[in-house]
């Protein structure tokens, strides 16, 4: 009612710009032609088969999954510990530490990759897999701290105090009262950490080595030498993974919302 026709046109062009390239990838991954081209020739799953035949892609996919899993898991545990300290004892030191924990998202990724490579690999000569895990922990640190801190601040402190007054020991009060309320935040922190670690290029690129490649970088190499829909097929699988993670995140949040509504008797 309040919009000019031009607004509608720009908006739809914008949606087309955002979604058409991704749709193009999905469509051509099922096309039998051996280059990305239209019109379509015929349905085929050969590019998906080819992904699993490529040893470098499969190996780097495994590496990336393990790396993302390990760094996000450690990340949310450390993130939880730090958030408790930062929220329960606010002050100047906590403010400074918080901005340090969030800084890896402000500093360009390629700079982080380079200084890590220079210090951990060249100066300290750490093994690459350890350097990779440390680097990815640094990548996920801002996400876990930011999300868990925000949620911890929102939790009504009187709940924990009630448990303590009723004679619950502090550790048990935390496990039984605070932790369950933090679950949705921990899940979103994990998912975001996972996605960011899995998609990271600049840090992994510097810390890779023989047999230690990650998927995004292996894909970049693949594109450089082969121009066929194998990468489309792999991209479709990655989009599927992203979709599953998004739905899982949404589901865990709404499940929690339903529960808290039920608890409030709504």
């Amino acid at each position: 009612m309040y919009k000019h026709r031009l607004v509608t046109i720009v908006a739809w062009l914008c949606f087309a710009f955002i979604f058409l390239p991704l749709i193009l990838i999905v469509v051509t991954s099922f096309n039998s032609a051996d280059s990305i081209s239209l019109p379509l020739e015929g349905f085929s799953l050969q590019w998906f088969v080819k992904v699993f035949r490529s040893r470098s892609l499969v190996q780097s996919l495994k590496n990336s999954l393990v790396l993302a899993l390990v760094s996000s898991t450690i990340g949310i545990v450390f993130g939880l510990l730090s958030s408790i300290a930062l929220v329960k004892r606010p002050g100047k030191i906590s403010t400074i530490l918080l901005s340090i924990f969030l800084s890896p998202s402000l500093i360009p990724g390629i700079v982080i990759g380079y200084v890590l490579f220079h210090f951990l690999v060249v100066s300290l000569q750490l093994p690459l897999n350890l350097a990779l895990i440390l680097g990815h922990l640094l990548v996920v640190m801002p996400y876990s701290v930011r999300i868990i801190c925000a949620s911890l601040k929102d939790i009504d402190e009187s709940l924990e105090e009630a448990a303590l007054t009723l004679g619950c020991p502090p550790s048990r009060a935390f496990m039984k009262v605070v932790l369950p309320n933090l679950r949705p935040a921990m899940i979103s922190a994990f998912m975001l950490s996972f996605i960011n670690s899995f998609n990271n290029i600049p840090v992994s690129m510097y810390l890779k080595g023989p047999g230690m490649n990650t998927l995004p970088y292996a894909m970049m190499n693949h594109i450089e030498y082969n121009y066929d829909p194998t990468v489309s097929a792999l991209s479709v699988m990655l989009m599927g993974l992203t979709l599953v993670l998004m739905i899982a995140m949404d589901w865990s949040m709404s499940a929690q919302r339903l529960k808290s509504k039920a608890a409030q008797g709504e």
């Binding site: 990305i36 990724g109 380079y114 200084v115 991209s235």
Partner: protein, 277 residues
Amino acid sequence: MKTSRYVVLLGPFVILAMVCLMIPLFITILPSFFTPGFSFSYYTDFFTDSFSRNILIRSLRLSLITTVICIVIGLPASYYISLMKENRRRIILSLILFPLLTNAVVRGFAWISILGKNGLINQLLQCLGLVDEPVKLLYTDFAIVVGSVYLFLPVMLSTLTSVMEGIGEDVIEAAYSLGAPPVATFFKVIVPLSFSGVLVAGVLVFAGTISAYTTPTLLGGNQNMMLATLLYQQSNTLSNWTNSAVIAFIMILISLGVMKIFNLIAATVDKRAEGHV
């Protein structure tokens, strides 16, 4: 909380931040100020060398163009989304979030297949008989801008939409019932009220574009380098530690500088807003 417990809880991430961020940054960047005595000569070299200066200027220019394009497209598109019905709005917002969570390589690859020599646009142009030879679209500044806009438009849209949702229909209705045509409503009411969102998202887009590595590598090629690609070339291919440190420090300065400018503008805007009340 007892100090001992505070230290233990914070220990892991403090050690990580020190060993993997603060100390490496310090040790890597410090030597770029010594030749061997303290001097800025590596930095003056960087700025006087036309090759590296051009890359710096290109990075700044392309990031600025990308930011402006994202704002120009983002304002009307977010306005459109913010006027949608609740259910449709939520669906479109999660759809917009989706490319944001997709790998940058995947998104770059999509544009390679569109802009490439045998890409869709060239196939189409040749099919229609408009050109005989394929047009060079890939490995140009244009391709970098398209890819960067594609990368960061979702950020702009989600930020602006959440700001515009807060404007409220009564404000728009007021403008409308006082006789403002839709165009005037958009430029005199919606755009000024979304200024804070434009600022936040603009900083994210600019800082993101200027520090991106994947997109300029895939779409710009070797000829059209940006700061991030130059840093990788200097450090990994040429192992030139001092040059790399110079570039790294300049990139950090730009990122922090953009944040600082943003905070200053935000502070003056806040003051002006207070003055009006």
